[in-house]
């Protein structure tokens, strides 16, 4: 049969050359920008070049890959030769159509992906909780609660002001012990109030406001939806799903520093010897233990 111009032998459609081209471009760009981009580009070019060559080799029958044994019936050899479909070819317009769509997609991705990252990622990256100086230990008499507010991120200003109920538990062995309970309700984040008389008098240390409570609270209650907690922050009534969050702390040069917050399912005991069931910080309303916690398998980085 004469070779026909209707069905010229052309290699099948392949995306590998595109990858090869990307690799070569990266290699060249890397020569100007950074050597490791060149290395990555070379690796991409080699990998895609290899895949492309392998495809072509297969098509020309140079390798055995993809060969299918002829079907046999009753051991009498192939009963009928399957009809050979003419090789599928792509016309110029189809090629241009697809490549316009593909290139448009690539350009669209290159433009929109960084913008999308700019929109989404900053909310999840660099969520630091630097230790904050709450003042000298003498401001926190043993066994008493002090309502403490502090600007957790000074460049942000008052919007970053947090409130914690701080109690000096005295010494646990040789180490000082503090209970620092966050005022964010574990239901939906409203500010819980200590259930005692809160005096108007307050002391100031830098950006920290300290209000010592003359009588210790019997617990905390939330004005929004009636959540109630005992003095250690355990939920005793209302809609909250767990105990109040707490803050870690450290002592440096005789000063109390408040650290990163964490979530607490419940607390057994009280004061310095309390056993705190501690979890990664979770949003209010999230269960952190029990079967309901399966609904929140991954926490965003806080």
């Amino acid at each position: 049969m004469e070779p026909s111009r209707e069905h010229p032998h052309v290699p099948g459609p392949s995306l590998w050359p595109v990858g090869l081209a990307v690799g070569v471009v990266a290699l060249l760009v890397g020569l100007i920008v950074n050597w490791w981009i060149s290395v990555a580009g070379a690796a991409i070019a080699i990998a895609f070049g290899f895949l492309w060559v392998r495809d072509i080799a297969r098509e020309r029958g140079l390798t055995k890959a993809g060969e299918v044994a002829p079907e046999r019936r009753n051991g009498r050899g192939p009963s009928r030769r399957p009809a050979v479909a003419p090789p599928r070819t792509y016309g110029r317009s189809a090629f241009l159509e697809l490549s316009t769509l593909g290139l448009g997609g690539v350009i669209g991705g290159l433009v929109s992906l960084p913008a999308l990252g700019f929109m989404l990622l900053p909310a999840f990256l660099k969520q630091k909780n630097p230790a904050h100086d709450l003042g000298p230990l003498t401001d926190f008499p043993q066994g008493e609660f002090v309502v403490t507010t502090f600007v957790s991120n000074p460049p942000e200003g008052q919007v970053s002001r947090r409130t914690a109920f701080v109690r000096n538990n005295g010494l646990l062995g040789t180490e000082p012990s503090f209970t620092i309970i966050s005022n964010h309700c574990a239901h939906l984040g409203c500010p819980v109030q200590p259930t005692t008389v809160v005096p108007k008098k307050s002391a100031q240390y830098k950006d920290v406001t300290l209000i010592p409570l003359p009588t210790p609270p019997s617990g905390y209650s939330c004005p929004c939806h009636g959540g109630a907690y005992d003095v250690e922050g355990n939920r005793i009534a209302g809609p909250p799903v767990r105990a109040l969050d707490r803050y870690s702390f450290s002592i440096r040069n005789g000063h109390l520093y408040v650290g990163a917050p964490f979530s607490v399912s419940h607390v057994v005991g009280s004061g310095a010897t309390a056993r705190i069931y501690k979890y990664t910080l979770a949003f209010p309303g999230e269960h952190i233990d029990g079967i309901e916690s399966w609904l929140y398998p991954i926490q965003p980085p806080h």
Partner: protein
Amino acid sequence: MATRMSPQDRIMYPVDWLEERSGLIGAVRYFLFRRVPSDTNWFQTLGSATLTAFLVQATTGVILAMYYKPDPQEAYPSIVNITNDVFAGWLVRGMHRWGASVFIILMFLHMGRVFLFGAYKYPRELNWIIGVLLLALGLAEGFTGYLLPWDQTSYWATTVGININGSAPFLGPFIAQFLQGGTYINADTLSRFYAIHMLLIPGAIFALIGLHLYLVIRLGVTSPPWSKHPAGSGPTEPPPPAPPRTGLTRPAPRGGTIRG
């Protein structure tokens, strides 16, 4: 040589000029003067009323944006300034604030009309779905706009709203953190809500309203359930004859005479 135009043609010349080049007049005519069932009633104006309420929100919102400052230090003082000092600021802010409730109420009334008239049924299901999306976006506008006065009510209502989002299973904590722009409400939250409130969601609402109207025009208006005309019956009278002149008052025939 050009023939003399009649005075009527002379007056309509700009309109004809535009129509000849854009076909816009024909489109407007098609939009405004389409056939509707003879037994439509006032309930069927609720959609237009909702659209009007949205346009009022968009207009007053743009004006408010000229004076409002989405910054934790400046937001509340700028609201006070708008309300007390800027000329008619109290009026524009009041229209935006109360108009928001009017918009939401009208959306629900319109939705109720569509439901009770059975106007969501074939072939208008897609328009119902678009309407539901519009309702969700309208509610999201209400949520994001509520933070902007940056007073105690705004702050704590948004805290609670974001934490309700946060308690949704699986993706909830991520949505909440995205909305806040961090672990807690912070300086970025306000400007983020502002951008979502005045750019992102209104853009989506405009686009969906366009689709919504397109489908209304394409599929026509439903008769009320008590209509005596059987559903799907076409107009009984023949189409009116074409009026005698081209332009706004008469569609130009394709390949019609060129005057002037």
